[in-house]
Symmetry: C2
């Protein structure tokens, strides 16, 4: 039997299911599922994503068996719908849409009304009795098809002229002017018939080809255009941003047309089963009478609310579907409930009412912002719709950032000048300089400006500017417009449909009331309320603890996770902020920032210029009291939680990057010739400072520095003990590559600790451990762990040395590597499991072989990256450490890691017992991979969670 390339659906049955997203795409799989559920879906068929892959692999040719399968599927559609494609008497019109595994809104092409030809138009007019509708459908087909199929897919560059679509729009405008009408709807059937004629002539003239007058030709042209659009510029750019692979391919959904624009008893709408911006459990959507679905999504007309409960001041004057068509609304609301129960998640649905009959065109899991995701997860768990694990997995850890997003200072907001109000499409506050094109947004942002992108409406071509902007403001469109969808996906502040704004993109200004805002002037957005203010208002960090759902979710996460979560903090205020966010300790307290303080830097420089250990000691003695005070502050802020303090790390030349004047001044202070200062600076210069005299290499060469720092730490600890406060210092030796280095430093540290305890007559506990950030350290981790009480993986430097990349210089080639797919992600942002991960696993295994209770954490920037946190869990670490604002994210990511690992363990067990391959428990973000499997396989003991 030939491979099945086409899956049919409709008439209460379907070949596919919702599980088959990889093969049928999200849209196709869900259409099949809805059909099987008995929900009214126009019949159709899905050409699989495999065909897309074969199409690109096979030099843009289809597999030979495709045509026959399409013919057969079309016959089924005809049977269900009672019409025939290309039939002169009772013609069936089809739509042709893309559908990838994951939604890529607006990034690929669609053709509607396929099948209208000189042969079928008369029959359709007869069967509908509506010639105006038919010619309107035909002119839409010509516009879409000539643009999408005949120009774009054919690869015709409209160099030196407008695109065909714009040319045809000008034709239509010309006719409207000639007829003296403003709205499209005022053109008559005859007008439209004439327009179709001139459209076809224009197409021939501009593109040099006849508009196809054959239903089959139109269908295959459209199918081809959709497949082509998978490799279109916009789609590729979107996948780059979202990190989606090129080899997924798209499916093509060919479906019978239903029309929301067949008069007053027709309509179209989109809705969410819950509010995607707040998470509130209310049916939430928009509809437009006598319109096609595209009209709602494009945001050209302001749509009406779907029900009364969700009316807003901006649309309460419009009739809701509930009011206009109560029976249909009830039918839709029942389908909504059914779908949510069936899919156990919030759905984003599209529907069309054709002459009083409801058709569902799409259902998919709805995008939501972080606030909504948190609330839905917690509430659905409360409703027993989903279990605890699933609730935890429902919120992407990065979405929590939105709850921690800055908000406008309420006091500033009270007295600020309101420019306009719109729809609150993306929560949070943002302030920035107004820019009016996506290119400007990108360019201004590239030079460090914070900008807000202001557009009448956005299109997929604007995505780069939307990404670069702090926030997005549009004058048109609703909550489901392009701008709203994209902003929500990114958790970006966004206000849409702000109709009062008169935006002049060419003049780079907007008028509102009597005001003019020009490019570069500050505006401020309250994306949670939908209010635009003139000027620059202060932003405040929110306190997520006012959000009850957030608090519940975090409580659930804390219960589920095994990994501890610490923070990287150098100052008491950061430490306090992190504790408020749930940090259980400090994983990395850098001490060099303290050296740069203006009060201290002189003594530090004196130390560097010293020629003897005695001189160095004298200079360091001046730094000691300051460092001690720093540590007292941090210990107090952490209230007895462990504090890992890293000894001095950067090369000394970083402290003596002096101007000529500063060098002279220093020479004066030290009463030494400036030549000596210059000579010492020259001597400290390094060709590769990253690989130079830094880390513990400083402490070995200048043990006095280690002595002073250890003394400051332990004197601070002693002070707290005397004040009857708890303290848990962990002294971390940086950049260790040999056990000898560690022992050298450890001896000094323990010696000072004993001295301080004796001098101050107190006792305190402390640990001495090391940062593992050099490949060699992972290889001799067993030796090092013989002495070190903890390891903290410094994955920034470990990534630099494992790859041989300088983070400062990688800008020269890393973008090309990501662009060309040589690296799938920036290894400095997300941990390279394949390489660096192996070193970490090796280091942990060897370290624990020598010291089974070795405490292991991570303190590189990866400690705040969800994928990396998942790896840390699998690798058996005890904790991760990240910046204060990432702590909530890390808590959730840690919980998800535990859930994922447990799921895998269950799957593994069931394989062992049944001998079968495990079914994916849920569609995880990525395959488990070799590393995970290896880890899981060899892990015998799970270290308990330490705090």
């Amino acid at each position: 039997m030939a491979k099945k390339l086409v899956y049919s659906f409709g008439g209460g049955a379907a070949d596919g299911t919702a599980e088959m997203k990889n093969l049928l795409g999200g849209k196709g799989a869900n259409l099949a599922e809805m059909a099987t559920l008995g929900i009214p879906v126009p019949a159709g068929f899905t050409i699989t994503t495999e065909v897309c892959t074969l199409f690109y692999a096979g030099n843009r040719k289809y597999p030979p068996e495709l045509a026959a399968q399409v013919r057969k599927a079309m016959a089924r559609v005809e049977a269900v719908m009672g019409r025939k494609f290309g039939d002169p008497e009772n013609p069936l019109l089809m739509s042709c849409r893309s559908g990838a595994r994951r939604s890529m809104p607006g990034m690929m092409e669609t053709v509607l009304n396929i099948g209208l030809t000189s042969a079928t138009i008369p029959g359709l007019i007869r069967s509908t009795g509506n010639p105006r509708f038919v010619y309107d459908a035909y002119r839409r087909l010509i516009m879409m098809y000539s643009d999408v199929v005949m120009e774009k897919a054919a690869g015709i560059e409209p160099a030196g002229r407008d695109g065909i679509r714009l040319i045809l729009e000008h034709e239509m405008d010309r006719m409207k002017r000639a007829r003296g009408v403003v709205e499209d709807t005022h053109l008559t059937a005859e007008d439209l018939e004439e327009l179709c004629g001139s459209f076809k002539a224009k197409v021939k003239e501009v593109l040099g080809a006849e508009f196809p007058d054959d239903a089959g030709a139109q269908l295959w042209g459209s199918i081809g255009a959709v497949f082509q659009s998978w490799m279109g510029k916009r789609a590729i750019a979107y996948r780059r941003i979202e990190g989606l692979p090129d080899d997924w391919g798209t499916a093509v959904n060919v479906q019978a047309m239903v029309f929301g624009n067949m008069g007053a008893s027709s309509a179209t709408g989109v809705a969410f089963t819950r509010n995607p911006a707040t998470g509130e459990k209310l049916f939430y959507g928009e509809w437009l009478q006598n319109a096609q679905g595209e009209d709602v999504v494009a945001g050209l007309r302001t749509p009406s609310p779907i029900n009364n409960a969700t009316k807003t001041p901006g649309n309460e004057h419009l009739k809701s579907l509930e009011e206009a068509e109560p029976a249909l609304y009830r039918q839709l609301d029942a389908i909504r409930t059914r779908l949510e129960k069936h899919y156990r998640d919030m759905q984003d649905i599209e529907f069309t009412i054709q002459e009083g009959v409801l058709w569902m065109l799409q259902t998919r899991t709805g995008k939501r912002n972080g606030t909504a995701a948190v609330r839905m997860a917690v509430e659905m768990h409360g409703e027993r719709l989903i279990d605890l694990d699933e609730a935890l997995m429902r919120v992407a850890p990065t979405q929590l950032n939105e709850l921690l997003l800055p908000m406008i200072d309420p006091n500033a907001e009270k007295s600020a000048k309101v420019l306009a109000k719109g729809l609150p499409a993306g929560p949070g506050g943002a302030t920035g300089k107004a820019v009016f094109t996506a290119d400007d947004a990108e360019q201004w942002a590239a030079r460090g400006e914070k900008v807000i992108l202001v557009r009448a409406e956005t299109s997929p071509e604007d995505v780069h500017g939307m990404h670069a902007a702090q926030a997005i403001l549009t004058s048109k469109g609703g909550m489901t417009s392009h701008a709203a969808l994209v902003a929500r996906g990114w958790g970006k502040c966004c206000i849409v449909g702000c109709g009062e704004l008169d935006i002049d993109a060419r003049g780079k200004a907007m008028r509102v009331g009597g005001s003019v805002v020009r490019e570069g002037e500050y505006i401020t957005l309250n994306g949670s309320k939908g209010v635009v203010y003139l000027g620059r208002l202060d932003l405040l960090a929110v306190d997520p603890d006012h959000n009850e759902w957030y608090k519940k979710l975090m409580k659930l996460a804390d219960k589920a996770r095994r990994l501890g979560v610490r923070t990287n903090a150098d100052r008491p205020e950061d430490a306090r902020q992190a504790v408020a966010f749930g940090a259980e300790g400090i994983g990395l307290c850098r001490t060099e920032h303290m050296f740069f303080d203006p009060q201290r830097i002189k003594a530090v420089r004196q130390m560097i210029m010293a020629e003897t250990a005695a001189e160095r000691r004298a200079a360091l003695a001046k730094v000691l009291p300051y460092q001690r005070e720093d540590f007292i502050g941090i210990f107090k802020a952490m209230e007895g939680r462990p504090v890992t303090i890293r000894l001095l790390d950067p090369p000394l030349h970083e402290f003596v990057a002096l101007t000529e004047d500063q060098a002279r001044e220093l020479a004066g202070e030290l009463n030494t010739p400036v030549e000596r200062i210059r000579a010492r600076i020259a001597q400290l210069h390094e060709l590769n400072p990253m690989l130079g005299h830094r880390g513990c290499r400083l402490g070995v060469a200048y043990p006095e520095i280690t002595e002073m720092q250890a003394r400051a730490i332990f004197e601070a600890a002693a002070e707290l003990v005397r004040q009857k406060q708890k303290v848990a210092p962990e002294v971390m030796v940086p950049l260790v590559g040999t056990v000898g280095e560690f022992r050298h430093q450890e001896r000094i540290i323990r010696g000072v600790a004993a001295d301080v305890m004796r001098e101050k007559s107190v006792r305190f506990k402390y640990l001495v451990g090391t940062m593992i950030e050099i490949p060699r350290a992972t290889l001799v981790a067993d030796q090092i762990a013989g002495d070190a009480e903890f390891f903290s993986f410094g994955t920034n430097d470990l990534t630099q040395t494992a790859f041989g990349y300088s983070r400062d210089d990688a800008g020269g080639f890393l973008p090309a590597y990501l662009e060309q797919g040589i690296l799938s992600k920036d290894p400095f942002a997300s941990l390279d499991e394949e390489g660096v991960g192996q070193l970490i696993e090796l280091g942990i295994a060897r370290g624990r072989s020598a010291r089974p209770d070795l405490k292991v954490g991570i303190c590189g920037e990866h400690g705040g990256d969800p994928d990396s946190i998942d790896f840390c869990h699998r690798a058996g670490m005890d904790y991760v450490s990240c910046s204060p604002f990432r702590v909530p994210l890390a808590r959730l990511a840690a919980a998800q890691a535990a859930v994922r690992a447990a799921g895998k363990a269950v799957a593994k067990k069931s394989v062992k017992q049944s001998g079968k391959k495990p079914a994916g428990r849920r569609s995880g973000k990525k395959p488990a991979g070799k590393t995970a499997a290896r880890t899981a396989a060899k892990k015998t003991k799970k270290p308990s969670k330490r705090r």
Copy 2:
């Protein structure tokens, strides 16, 4: 039973054996062995090295049981020798000498004539009938003891005054002046008795302590002084240079005195069982009538030849021992033969004749220079004294350097002015500026000057200067003098006993004949002939193929080794030289040196300044013909042997380090503003160039460079094929860390190869492989080997990244690391097996898992280091590659690695079979270690040797 701390020997029996060197030291073990063999040895005992270790561990106290064991051993000596220590009637005198595992000539202390006191002197005078001898012995004891025990071991710093030894020498000079005599021997018994009195008074005056008048006190004082001298400055410095560990400790040999200075029928001498400078199988030595051993070694008197066969023009007027004492000579010669057969190696022996009786004082394996080592190994193998494996192990690979040492151009030598003739103590030629103190030698060498150290005689205090000098020239001393021994150990050019020279160290000049040579003037030494020339003569590389023993040894080595040996060469002349030395291919041909050629650098800079790929291609097209010619030359020189060519590696900024003028000139050439040049240079600047945009990262960013280089290589290959010559190019992609990088470059290279074959209508074979020099590459080596046909480990960069050390900047801390023992050796000189070695083993194992026939080599500088070559063998590599002059060394080291591995395999097998621990087959240079064991254990397949 208490632990045995003291081992007796003498009277035809001994507690110890020659195998017990670690416990008894070399001297003690061999004295025991000789005693057991029935060779006449003065009785004595050895205090073990363990006592030394316990002494330092126990705060410089002896284990309590030591005293009793010494007492018991002394009683045995007394019984054998028929005299009693401290006995007034028939007193026994003892010597006290150091003896470490390995000889450390002159680095530790000795005390002779112990036991002379006011109580024993009369008895000894009575028993010898020779008061002059007794008082001479006494004054020697006082001089030695006060210096070694009372001053040095007591830690008394002679600040502001001369040392006690010099003070006593002045006393003696004063007496000689007073008596009007020149030679010591002209002082009478009475003179010496008086001198002893004034010596003791002086000792009291200067050191504030009485000279001990008790035999036991003298003995224990001497034992302590020898132990103390293990941690003396000189001994520590020597161990640093030789790489010996501090924890070995020294044994102390306490032995009955015999006297070579008891008149005309007494004598002392040192000899080698074969000539240590040439290897010739002739008994070779020196003797002095009526002298103590120290007199020969110190080189104060020019000694006589031991036999007639080895007389030289310089000493043929002196009577040989063979002539003077034929019977004793025959006895000695028989002992010589016996010892060589017993030890199966050339022995360095010391003997004393006391009143016509021969006593052997020492035998040990004699040091030899490279030339001698090679000849002895080959000849002893021919004599069936040693087997093939042992013959191969007998030559330290670095000793081969001496055979490759430069020699003076014979033509220049003919017409050069001979300054003086001396003894040829170290072969080879050397030219340099004369310096007259060790400190000057070190300082001049540190600033890059080549110097020759000229001294009347050298002492252990001069070692640092001897090390820094190109060669050593002395006016005093024989072939066994300090200078000769040390120079021989290092394979350094050396002439000794050049009596014509009048050396004025203070005035920094020497007079000879009518000439004066002042500091900084050039002299040239022929160390093989012993001739000193005025001025700077040209040196020529020797052709080792004129040395038949070298040729035989290399033939044996080539048969024994499994590892191939290639060379690192960038130019045809280097390639030819390497082939002459036995290179089997080029393991690393760098292409960047070719870029710096003045003819090409302009085009290279133009390429760097280009703004488009087309401009870059145009500039590269100008470089192409040059590169092609380079490769044609190298391919021809290698005559079909494989040539591994590395693509461009350094960051581009290395090519545009321009002065302001050069920048202007370049701007003119390119017809572009100089600001653009400056901007591009600034853009290329990197903070850590070692980790920056280099290696294949260049080829990925600028594929045009790879294209051009591949084309140059393949067009050169095509040219040779057309000329019917063989060619085997191996294109090497540098700095690969991900398989994606390799694939990217491989695609280009293979594409160009196919193009060139088509264009030129020829076919040739080639390989594409990569340099493994980034830790990550070793971790994903299985992926990379899926595509790469060979790996070449670039251990320079791999060491940099594995340690996180920049070779350019490590000078800031590496010396301290070596000094403090944090690293036992410089990882850039000798491969760090513990860390970097693990990465290599991992890389090979994973690489071969994906491609079992993966060709693996090394091309870092470690490829010429014997220890590292041993590792490469154990790690299963196919070849090593090193600089041309290291090729013979590598061939021998590879053979030794094979011998060692086979030995271990045998030992391993016998363990398996017998369950016993293997006895060391020979005392290998170091323990097998974890890595070796692991490798051996898991290696299942030995890749065959490929060429």
